[in-house]
């Protein structure tokens, strides 16, 4: 006898439907690496196809869990928060970079198989899992932290709402890599900082409290910096947080051109 009021069932109101999911499988050689960041040998890849019955507002992540938990436990992907704020489950769904937990199945064309691949431009470790270290290396290179000099104030530093609004958009970044791995320049040139690192530099360059803008602009004036951007807007389309990535990159370009020192 249950003492609890049943929590609402989402499946009850919307009919179930069948969906075919094709997952790019990549199996690494099963030898532990030396642990010094040696690249994993190139995995062999294949497509595996699953047909599932899903419900109402189920997301691509729900389909992946159903596959892993009920069909094939070896299917491997990262995930955590499951509502679009942790950035773990960026993947290429029907050829577009998205978060699996933020993509509802019913919003995709279910008459065709849904294809799921790892994000492009980073080494694949296994199935949908890629090596994120090169991505985070670029992030760390732009000095993504407050740089200030002088004596620390006793209370908070003042900042007007207008000053804060200049960089509000780029504070939303969750480092999921959807933008960087949708960028054609990044695909062919892994040295390029990529949109995400530039977004995180922007977040500080336009913060009125920060004094490190000149340094960061110099870093991004590098041959692998902002000038590699070809303004294709892939990054803006891919961002699951709705950040206007291309606009942020343009603002950094303009800041480099108009700087006085």
């Amino acid at each position: 006898m249950s003492a609890t009021t049943q929590s609402p069932g989402k499946a009850a109101e919307v009919p179930s439907f069948d969906v075919t999911v094709k997952i790019m499988r990549s199996v690494p050689s099963d030898v532990p690496s030396a642990g010094y960041g040696e690249p994993v040998p190139a995995p062999t890849s294949r497509w595996d196809t699953f047909t599932l019955t899903m419900h109402g507002s189920d997301r691509v992540l729900d389909a992946l869990h159903k596959i892993k938990w009920e069909f094939d436990g070896t299917v491997t992907f990262r995930r955590s928060c499951a509502h679009g704020v942790c950035g773990s489950d960026a993947m290429r769904i029907n050829g577009r970079n998205r978060l699996a937990c933020k993509t509802l199945l019913k919003d995709l064309n279910l008459r065709k198989p849904i294809t799921i691949e790892p994000i492009k431009g980073l080494p694949v470790i296994k199935d949908l899992v890629v090596d994120m270290e090169p991505f985070f290396d670029s992030y760390r290179e732009v000095q993504p932290f407050l740089i200030v000099s002088g004596v620390e104030p006793t209370k908070e530093r003042l900042q007007s709402a207008t000053e804060r609004a200049l960089f509000d958009d780029t504070t939303k970044c969750i480092l999921c890599a959807c933008c960087t791995t949708s960028c054609p320049v990044f695909w062919v040139d892994g040295q390029y900082f990529g949109p995400s690192a530039i977004v995180n530099a922007h977040r500080w360059i336009f913060d009125s409290r920060d004094e490190g803008a000149a340094e960061r602009l110099e870093i991004l004036n590098d041959r692998e910096g902002v000038w590699r951007c070809r303004t294709t807007f892939n990054c803006t389309d891919a961002c699951p947080r709705g950040i206007e990535v291309t606009k942020a990159i343009s603002e950094v370009k303009r800041a480099i051109l108009t700087r006085t020192h």
């Binding site: 009021t5 109101e13 690496s33 507002s57 704020v85 908070e156 900042q159 804060r164 504070t171």
Partner: protein, 609 residues
Amino acid sequence: MQTHQYDVMIVGAGGAGMRAALESSVRTRTAVISKLYPTRSHTGAAQGGMCAALANVEEDNWEWHTFDTVKGGDYLVDQDAAEIMAKEAIDAVLDLEKMGLPFNRTPEGRIDQRRFGGHTRNHGEAAVRRSCYAADRTGHMILQTLYQQCVKNDVAFFNEFYVLDLLVDHDLAAGDPGEDVNVLGVVAYELATGEIHVFRAKSVVFASGGAGRMFKTTSNAHTLTGDGIAVAYRRGLPIEDMEFFQFHPTGLAGLGILLSEAARGEGGILRNADGERFMERYAPTIKDLAPRDIVARSMANEVREGRGCGPHKDYVHLDLTHLEPAHIDAKLPDITEFARTYLGVEPYTQPVPVYPTAHYLMGGIPTNVDGEVLRNNTDVVKGLYAAGECACVSVHGSNRLGTNSLLDINVFGRRAGIAAASYAVGADWIELDDDDDPAAAVVAQLDAIRSREDGERPGELRRALAETMDANAQVFRTEDSLTQALADVRELAARYREVCVQDKSQAFNTDLLEAVELGFMLDLAEVVVLGSLLRKESRGGHFREDYPKRDDDGFMRHTMAYRRPLSDDGSVGDATGPFAVSSAADDHRVVIGSKPVTQTRYQPMERKY
């Protein structure tokens, strides 16, 4: 197997872990182990704010904040700890601002503040603006800011490493007591390679987060499986107040995704099927801004009495339609997007379906105010610390106030980091016994699961665990429902011993790790249910329909649960009165005692809002 050596090892890279790391790493050689990349941690999902009596927008002081915290926790709060938290809150917020956190601002450019559930002016007169915030993504900003500072300070991280065992020099779970019990390190599993790593340390700080995934409807990440708490418990350390789980009122109906209390702080109203603002009946003074336990119970009660909304009358409405869209966009952008994305509801014009969702574990690894982990009511494990949701200080008592978790991780993460580093600097290394392989237990556990050719898959057991916890140990509990839950959890634990995974490989074997996580959750769920069974009263987040009143004479104590061998005589801790429970499962015994609540200036009163 690889062996590493650090003075301080921090387990977990959410808010508490990284705040500890920032203190410890400038004092001594420190590393952080995290099962996720640090920016994936669930601190990033916190929304509404972090309370501190800055008094930037109206009169406030830390004593009022202390009182609200104590009353909010239904007087099970240790009042000395709550006072420290409320006092240090002010510097904790200012520290974050000085690290660059982009708080919302007042017209004068100072940190803006808003109302939040249970936070009041002058001991309950009216809601007060105390929560410092950055839109509805305050946790995201805290997590990013702390990680940025870790990058700046070059903190060492071992990302995607799972800590599966704690090394101490006396096996308390096997009944080996010691005059002194010392921490030796932790054993971790590297996800990318499947390798085992032994991390030797003088100090270990657990900051490994909560365990919400034992419930089906939860706001918690899939990775919140109680690992750190279970690891300590399996080594014989007590875990405190595990029956107190917070159900957040406003989860997206059917999904459990969190919609911040800030929605109500900014003026949102809960309504039933008749459109009635029902919280006026349950909490006449502060209405929709009553503490979470009260709001969640009121909502569940509306549904139970037939006033729920929707075709199945199984949720209530969160109404924001009277707020200006521009105000919603400025203050609540993320949660309104969740409503659009996941339910297809437009909050400008439509009410949002909501229902309580398992959100926060008030209990955990018992510590003192410096984060030192207790091994009984008075003695600590030398060199072992805990902070954040995995710890129980206890500043939250039986019900945490909104925003006090972001505060807890900053205040007690910092204190634990300082204490762990100070201890390590003065302590000598303790040699491991040459005959012992420190990783043996972990290797045996993993090999047993991986090598089993036949058996049940973990997915089925996990689903059954979550379903029985939701059905029988959620907002409303009874002797019958909890007895059922205990039987279910123990049956699942027996089946778990024969669990089998399909992925037998070394690299990135998440199938295997999910099975391990399930084992942690089963161990903790047993304690949650046993604590709920023995606590024949209703207090904070724990509501017994068969005992609807708070009983201070019988139960004004913390529950302390210990895992012991079947042969144990059942006399641990302060096992008196209703807390003297020794419950045998088929391969171990859960022995429960109790610990007194620290009261300083506030006498328990009836809790009215």
